[in-house]
Symmetry: C2
Subunit: 316 residues, 2 copies
């Protein structure tokens, strides 16, 4: 085969996932190997290089067809230089990842943070395919995000763009302090953690809810209870959806994206959640800014990371 | 002289202002002529072409040195095609401005909306010179804005990006309806109109304030009274500053710009206003997102329009 291909790498604390993509964003195959954090940063970097070579060797493609290697990683980065300044879960400190990999692989290497990379994956080859302006939310333990304008990641001045979970949306009187130190962050109400906290508060307060009988409340329990007609659970979901929709109304007037893409564990609640988010979005967004704008679920799941990392090369 | 130059055009309802800029953003000369809206759209377009030729003729440059002509205009635009779909104050409807001017002038012509263009002017050659990521607020009758990422205007999917005045920031209990139809918009509290409204409300309510003795309250009166120690006026200024600072905290986590630039009549209140905005911004923005971020006044004043229009060509 003579087509160009790209390799995407998603570095997790225990597993390094590698994906092979066509230049059009089709995920052709994946490979996973151990990260081996305990063996130190050089070994981790060497593993990345080895797995990247391996996935191409095992395919029908030749190494010469590889256009470049993109890497997504959690931590504080110097993006232009591909330096991992600090990554707690990998025990990386000032690791020159781009230089290391470019020397080992003799290919163009681009490094970016995992949230941006996952957003690019969805925007390029997932729920945002063909759409140039996308804003992606990831609703998990926290609320992450990524902004894609003109098909490219918006990194911001210090690489801190897309921190959607820290939009201050909850009014002072109802606000609690977020892990970031500030009050009223979206993450405090619309993450799994936030939803679970509100549920526990309700149970402790003595609210009449079926959640009282759940031993270890998970976000899914709250959604299931709400869908089954539990009013207390429904109120919690409505609150999480309200601030998500309101934050999107704000992003809409600032950036006027065409599509909002929502992924992460919490998004699995499905249309039950999405309908409420859309309703709030429509309520708070001026008519001409919401025209043609869609709020849709992510579709790549756990592959968004490797696909987006590969996309770094194509959308550079 | 052999340097390249660019022409910027700022079309107002009564006057068309034209500016000649160096490729580095230095404003070399300006010219103003009547818009002549009453003579119809063809005459207005012809005037633009004439004034653009004239300003170059009157300079030491030759027409051959002109790199292109940028145009800023208020209204609903098809930006890529340079079509003015609707401009109420010019009585334009589906005017192919870019095509018309490119034929008459035989130069590359780019058209964009006036708020975006003014923002680009400040970002390129004003208070944002040398800074690639800027967010500009214009505090006048309304609150306008423009977003510059990587040195370029963010237009959004339907050209509606940068509508900062319609960020929904005021909590429901205190919110009033905005001209856009939505509740709680920044414009309702932080524009001159919003400040005047709050002052009139205070006077009508019987609050003890020196503003009771002002016949026709202007935003400047409110600032002057606040500076002189009037507590009611001070409270109004604090409220306007609070929501500005809070909206900037939100924009900061979404886009992580390096600099916020504030222009327009209300910004003339100076450090008295800016200090309060910065305080709120610091309160609501996570540490790592506010590091190195500045909030500064615009410096180009009424020239931002022509400079930014010229900048369209350079930053295309």
């Amino acid at each position: 085969m003579s087509d160009k291909i790209v390799v995407g790498v998603d570095i997790g604390g225990t597993t390094i996932k590698v994906g092979l993509c066509s230049a059009e964003g089709e995920l052709l195959r994946t490979y996973e190997g151990p990260t081996e954090v305990d063996k130190g940063s050089v070994q981790v970097c060497q593993n990345i290089a080895d797995y990247a070579r391996l996935i191409v060797e095992e395919s029908d493609f030749e190494w010469e067809q590889v256009e470049g290697v993109g890497v997504g990683i959690a931590g504080f980065l110097d993006i232009p230089n591909g330096i991992v300044k600090f990554s707690p879960n990998l025990h990386f400190k000032d690791v020159h990842l781009k230089d290391f990999l470019e020397e080992k692989l003799q290919k163009k290497v681009l490094v970016n943070n995992d949230a941006n990379v996952a957003a690019l994956g969805e925007a390029w080859a997932g729920a945002g395919r063909g759409v140039m302006h996308c804003v992606c939310y990831t609703l998990g333990t926290g609320v992450g995000g990524g902004i894609i304008i003109g098909g490219k990641i918006v990194e911001g001045y210090a690489g801190m763009a897309g921190e959607l979970g820290h939009m201050s949306v909850v009014p002072d009187l109802e606000a609690i302090q977020c892990g970031c130190g500030k009050m009223g962050c979206l993450e405090s109400v619309s993450s799994a953690t936030g939803i679970i906290r509100m549920a526990k508060d309700a149970v402790e307060r003595g609210d009449r809810t079926s959640l009282s009988f759940v031993e270890q409340i998970m976000a899914k329990d709250v959604f299931d209870a709400a869908k089954a007609g539990d009013e207390v659970a429904a109120r919690i979901v409505t609150r999480a959806a309200f601030y998500l929709g309101k934050s999107m109304a704000t992003v809409a007037v600032v950036l006027n994206p065409q599509r909002f893409i929502i992924g992460g564990g919490v998004s699995r609640a499905g249309e039950f959640l999405f309908e409420q988010i859309r309703e709030v979005f429509h309520k708070f967004t001026p008519e001409n800014t919401q025209e043609g704008v869609e709020i849709v679920p992510a579709i790549l799941g756990n592959n968004a990371g490797v696909v987006g990392a590969a996309g770094l090369i194509i959308r550079a």
